[in-house]
Amino acid sequence: MNAIDIISFIFYNALFYAAPLIFTGLGAVFTERSGVTNIGLEGIMQVGAFTGIVTNLYLAETMGSATVFTSILIAMVVSSIVSLLLAVSSITFRADQIIAGTALNMFAAGGTIFLVKKIFDGKGQTPMVQETINRFNVPVLKDIPIIGEIFFQNVYLTSYLAILAAIIGWIVLYKTPFGLRLRAVGEHPMAADTMGIKVNRMRYIGVMISGALGGIGGAIYAMSITLDYSHATISGQGFMAIAAMIFGKWNPLGMMGAAIFFGFAQSLSTIGPALPVINEIPQVYLYILPYVLTILAIAGFIGKSVAPKALNTPYIKGER
């Protein structure tokens, strides 16, 4: 392999693994900006992955190439409905958000496998899907010398959709009245309430957006990386997405950068053996790299005060 081959190989693998993290991490940004921690994103991704795979299996016959995107849409809707469990318990009934999120993870892990066994005659995993997220060449751009070869040939469409989503997320959060309200509710709910913003409604919206995006993330992960669904399909990616959000200082673009970096770190453990130098490092170091880096990052680079101030506290009207 020459240098350009290696770079493009690393690049598309990093983006390939990053796409689900970017979607889910964006969800994490929206929910936390509204003042609700969603530790349950791991479970939400499982719901998305499960729904995506199952609908894909059922639709493939009739829908053909439209299957993948239809499945992603259905996964998005189902996951956002499931995320209501967190919203209702932690916003309306004032449950501790982290406990409710942990319960959501348990619910999703148990519920999806329960359904897999119910649907597929007691087997713990689904068959492989035939319709998957495929690689393609970006028209026109692919012909640019070097850059085209690295960035626009043989890429996954979802990678670019994820980057686009993060940019749109940034615009929504910082350039629209809705984004301003969402952030206000996460920083100082009482002040927001005084200004006539419906605090709990905004928080419900924040959680449901995170559910929708986490569902997309899970569906993409399953349909591009594992191609089936079992208890081991989603193993920590939801937590990684939350870490990416913290790494990226609760900002969609920062989160995207962190997610691409995590994607790179995650891909190293699978592509490492094919690369010079890296193939001499014991695999365990590559496995733990993203986690260790996250710990170092939040210990070293990130100040204390960047998290939304009202995070993790239920808003009780009339209480100071």
Binding site: S89, A95, A103, F114, Y291, I298, A299
Partner: protein, 349 residues
């Protein structure tokens, strides 16, 4: 509602509601909840063997729940019990295999090693929280994955394959008397260690200066600081003790249940269930025993649910447990219902 009353009433109501919702889910998905719950019951109490296995399952839950509860009481959220348990499990088996000692030295040493390994694993988030104010939730979650991969690598290099041989007789927690009594179940002596740990933690929290300081820091860091307490030191202490307990839970698996350690593709789940155990036990050491008994029994009993005549996937129980936690955590729900019904009564008058 008095405080004490509601701390008991809410979990009890939640369990009942959780089982009811579970029954509804079973009906919707085309299963018979009556045979389902019968299978569950028989899976827990059916004969002496399953009874012994239920106790075996409850044992690590008591320690994991205790670890979470202890951290909670001191204002910390230890999601890292899972990772601390995994390193504890490995440390216990390592000592159990690597040394040649009489039982009265070997067994305590192996158990201690597990506790210390868990404590070291919890020291990292503890010191980061104390010195830099880093949120312990994210760090402990990351530490879980580091623990998983590092122990997998250690097992491979230590055993040369994906599974170690069985620990030496002198480091085993198995008690022949228990095995004969329960038709050769894997019930082991760890249950005594778990119960002693509950008493010790209760004693520390309720009867010592250390416990008072830890609770005080958990309640208000600023007030504790003004009162002259060393807040960072207490945070580290709390985390380390919590990790020690989690490590002990790993020893239960490594020296009792399995007597070996193998590589894992995903988390054991015991640490996360420990959160549920703690919540159900109102974060009280004694309450943890009840929480662990309930969850351990449900988890083990559920293994009987896929058998005929019920034929229900055992994951049903995880769903029910999750619903129970939702109800317990949403304690305000019950207050809300009560207020609504009182308001209605007044309206009628």
């Amino acid at each position: 509602m008095s405080k004490r009353f509601s701390t008991i009433l809410i979990p009890v109501l939640s369990v009942i509601l959780g089982l009811l919702v579970g029954a509804v889910i079973m009906v919707i998905s085309g299963y018979n909840p009556v045979t389902g719950y019968q299978a569950l019951w028989n899976g827990i109490f059916g004969d002496v063997y399953v009874l012994g296995e239920s106790v075996r399952q409850i044992t690590p839950y008591i320690l994991a729940g205790l670890a979470v509860a202890f951290a909670f009481r001191t204002g910390l959220f230890n999601i890292g019990v899972e990772g601390q348990l995994i390193v504890g499990w490995f440390a216990a088996v390592y000592v159990g295999l690597a040394f040649e000692l009489p039982t009265y030295l070997h067994l305590p040493l192996a158990i201690l090693a597990a506790g210390v390994a868990g404590a070291i694993w919890a020291f990292v988030p503890g010191i980061l929280k104390a010195k830099l104010g880093v949120n312990e939730v994210v760090v402990t979650i990351m530490m879980n994955y580091v623990a998983l991969h590092v122990t997998n690598a250690l097992i491979r290099s230590f055993a040369g394959k994906d599974i170690t041989s069985r620990v030496k007789e002198t480091a085993s927690l198995r008690i022949p008397f228990f095995q004969e009594l329960t038709d050769y179940s894997r019930m082991h002596g760890g249950i005594f260690i778990a119960l002693i740990a509950v008493f010790v933690i209760w004693f520390i929290l309720e009867r010592t200066t250390l416990g008072y300081e830890l609770k005080s820091v958990g309640f208000s860091q600023d007030a504790s600081k003004y009162a002259g307490m060393n807040v960072p030191k207490n945070i580290v202490k709390a985390m380390v003790i919590s990790g020690f307990l989690a490590g002990l839970a790993g020893a239960m698996e490594g020296l009792g249940t399995f007597e070996y350690v193998g590589t894992k593709s995903s988390m054991t789940g015991i640490g996360f269930d420990g959160i549920a155990v703690s919540i159900l036990g109102a974060n009280h050491p004694i309450g943890v025993i009840f929480g662990a008994a309930l969850f351990g029994a449900l988890k083990y009993g559920s293994l009987n649910m896929p058998n005929p005549p019920a034929e229900i996937p055992q994951e049903m129980i995880s769903v029910i447990i999750a619903i129970i936690i939702f109800f317990v955590a949403s304690g305000y729900l019950f207050q809300w219902i009560r207020e609504k019904s009182l308001a209605k009564k007044k309206g009628v008058k």
